[in-house]
């Protein structure tokens, strides 16, 4: 589940084929795009939470990290800075989604893997 696909993505997030298949299935089921919010802290802290598009109300302190197949990926800007402006690879793994996140299919959840920075300017 970890072949990397950069096609169809923008910004600092890419997605594996498995993640893109899960996103396509969710979008079809929801009748529109989903959104991702990278969480922090406690039990499911490092999970990317997946919600129906627009479910999570974004504020001025949130940033758009990237777009995957028309689905936006956000995180708190201070968290983004504290974590050294990471690049994320969205993937799918077995397991229960954290919090109120949508599953990435039966028995699956989304995960983010961190890619090393592409340059040293950050």
């Amino acid at each position: 589940m970890s072949e990397k696909v950069e096609y169809g993505t923008a910004g600092r997030v890419t997605a594996t084929r498995a993640a893109r298949r899960a996103i396509a299935a969710l979008c079809a089921a929801q009748g529109g795009p989903v959104m991702f919010v990278q969480s922090g802290g406690c039990c499911d802290g490092s999970d990317p939470m997946c919600f129906p598009g627009g479910e999570f109300v974004l504020g001025d302190g949130d940033m758009l990290v990237g777009v995957v197949d028309g689905c936006t990926f956000h995180m708190d800007a201070e968290q983004y800075e504290a974590l050294g402006r990471p690049f994320y690879l969205l993937d799918v793994e077995e397991g229960t989604p954290g919090g109120f996140s949508l599953a990435a299919g039966d028995g699956l959840h989304f995960v983010t893997r961190v890619e090393p920075p592409r340059n040293k300017t950050s």
């Binding site: 919010v37 990278q38 969480s39 922090g40 802290g41 406690c42 039990c43 499911d44 802290g45 490092s46 999970d47 939470m49 919600f51 479910e55 999570f56 109300v57 708190d76 201070e78 968290q79 504290a82 974590l83 050294g84 990471p86 793994e93 077995e94 397991g95 229960t96 989604p97 954290g98 919090g99 109120f100 996140s101 949508l102 599953a103 959840h109 995960v111 893997r113 961190v114 090393p116």
Partner: protein, 506 residues
């Protein structure tokens, strides 16, 4: 000694193949007709099936809670306290059973559940039984013949969503104050740990008035959302990560109801050089204080996951700590000699492994652990990860993000000012530890660290009576203290005039 796993001959715990939701004092099958398999983290084998409930089950639980709330809210504080004390007695009477069930459901070693989780849960009910008896309403004489009465009234029905790391203790932290204040509750356990709470309800369910406590298991996206968005709850309490915390506040804002949130941390544990001034019990205690990062396999919101050691004692002090870390016994959580059990789920070990990899890529030095251990026999597939130590600096990701595993990030500091700067250089502010023989220094640090709980010359103690909660993004509200009663109460003011003269305005 070793306890037999639940369900086997000689075990203190029985296991049914399938459990239901606990609603209105009865066991009710989920409206969905669906169940999910609950795995034991030590073996990766099924323990039992639990409901995969839907939004309709939340409505049923809310019906039961609303049916119960008036009688429970109007019960005298003596009656409510008596019920809470009976719950505590029942927890004590089932101590071994609940400790073993908790250990098997979550993976935490039974030595911890026997000594901490279960006794603390019982004590929590006793504390709030006492607190509600001692609570008084206030009366103010605003002026002669004008009196303000302030009564505490229950909120009604509250929604409570708890995490996987201390399933029973977090249930106690949430339920005891809510019930003491006269509320009824709909509680959603965390998906990885749905079962031990059902064993708790088997033990205490008959003591509680039907509907006062309702437990519904299922996916957060379905039932967590159905509960948090529901117009029939008067308050929501949540422990977990920041995104869900924000979402819960967002839903609460739509219903204009209060929230309490406890959202994690990246707690600094600071060791000043005078801890090593003598080779005595205190130094030994401080070494243990550092190693407490492995308590509950690091799955603690207040895990002291950043150790800050004054540079002139680093080699000696860390050497002692590493000796202690290497002596940590890992394996069967039901063996009372075991100090660290498996992580709660497969995804947790994968997350931990990825963080260790990130840390090493960032240039951190691996001082201990860093691998999945070979734990043989029936635990070969369990979710074990070695107690790990990474040395680096505070700007590294492993110092900034909560890993929720037995991974310590250690660094050094020159002086008090630098220790404080590093300690506060985090988004979180839940816990902190300060270790020094100099009381004035420890006090200054404790007051200057932006965290809700600063353990001073101790760590990981959670007595009822000491307020617990976060600064910064670590949350809103305080638990484990009688002030929690305010979070579960309305204030009713009667402003009463005993005078007879009109105002004279009209």
């Amino acid at each position: 000694m070793k306890y037999e796993p639940p369900g086997r001959p000689g075990s203190p715990v029985d296991v049914a193949p399938r459990y239901e939701n606990f609603i209105g004092g009865k066991w009710q099958a989920p409206s969905t007709g669906q169940y999910s398999v609950n795995l034991c983290p030590a073996t990766a084998k099924p323990v039992c099936e639990v409901p995969k409930s839907g939004a309709e089950d939340i409505e049923l639980a809310l019906d039961a809670a609303h049916a119960a709330k008036d009688a429970w809210g109007e019960a005298s504080t003596a009656q409510r306290a008596a019920v809470l004390n009976k719950v505590a007695d029942a927890i004590d009477a089932h101590r071994e059973e609940l400790a073993v069930a908790e250990s098997w459901d979550n993976g935490k070693p039974v030595r911890e559940t026997l000594a901490a989780d279960i006794p603390l849960a019982a004590d929590h009910f006793r504390y709030f039984a006492s607190a509600i008896r001692a609570e008084e309403s206030e009366i103010t004489e605003i002026e002669k013949d004008l009196i303000a009465y302030h009564f505490h009234e229950p909120l009604g029905v509250v929604g409570q969503i708890i995490p996987f790391n201390f399933p029973l203790l977090m249930a106690a932290w949430k339920l005891a104050p809510a019930l003491a204040a006269g509320n009824s509750s709909v509680l959603k356990p965390a998906s990885p740990t749905p079962w031990s709470i059902l064993k708790l309800m088997e033990a205490v369910g008959d003591i509680l008035p039907p509907g006062a406590v309702n437990v519904v298991n299922g996916p957060g996206a379905e039932i967590g959302k159905a509960l948090a968005t529901n117009k029939r709850i008067a308050k929501v309490a949540f422990t977990g990560e920041t995104t869900t915390g924000r979402l819960i506040m967002q839903y609460a804002s739509q219903n204009i109801i209060p929230v309490t949130l406890e959202l994690g941390g990246k707690s600094p544990n600071i060791f000043f050089n005078d801890v090593a001034a003598k080779d005595d019990d205190f130094l030994n205690k401080a070494v243990e204080g550092l190693v407490l990062y492995a308590f509950n396999k690091g799955e603690v919101c207040t895990c002291p996951s950043r150790a800050l050691i004054q540079e002139d004692i680093y080699e000696e002090f860390m050497g002692r700590c590493l000796d202690r870390i290497r002596a940590i016994k890992q394996g069967d959580p039901l063996d009372t000699a075991t100090m660290i059990g498996p992580q709660v789920s497969k995804q947790q070990i994968e997350k931990i492994a990825s963080y260790v990899e990130i840390g090493l890529k960032e240039g951190a030095e691996l001082l201990a652990g860093g691998h999945r251990p070979a734990v043989g026999g029936e635990f070969a597939d369990g979710y074990f990860y070695e107690p790990t130590v990474l040395k680096g600096h505070n700007k590294m990701r492993v110092f900034q993000e909560e890993i929720f595993g037995p991974v310590l990030a250690v660094t050094t500091f020159k002086d008090e000012a630098e220790a404080l700067e590093i300690a506060n250089d985090t988004l979180y502010g839940l816990g902190a530890g300060v270790w020094s023989r100099d009381g004035a220094l420890a006090y200054r640090m404790g007051r200057a660290i932006k965290a809700g709980r600063v353990w001073t010359n101790c760590y990981h103690q959670y007595p009822a009576g000491a307020a617990f909660g976060g600064y910064k993004v670590s949350g809103i509200g305080r638990e484990t203290h009688k002030m929690m009663l305010e979070h579960y109460s309305q204030t009713k003011n009667l402003l009463v005039s005993y005078g007879t003269k009109p105002l004279g305005l009209f």
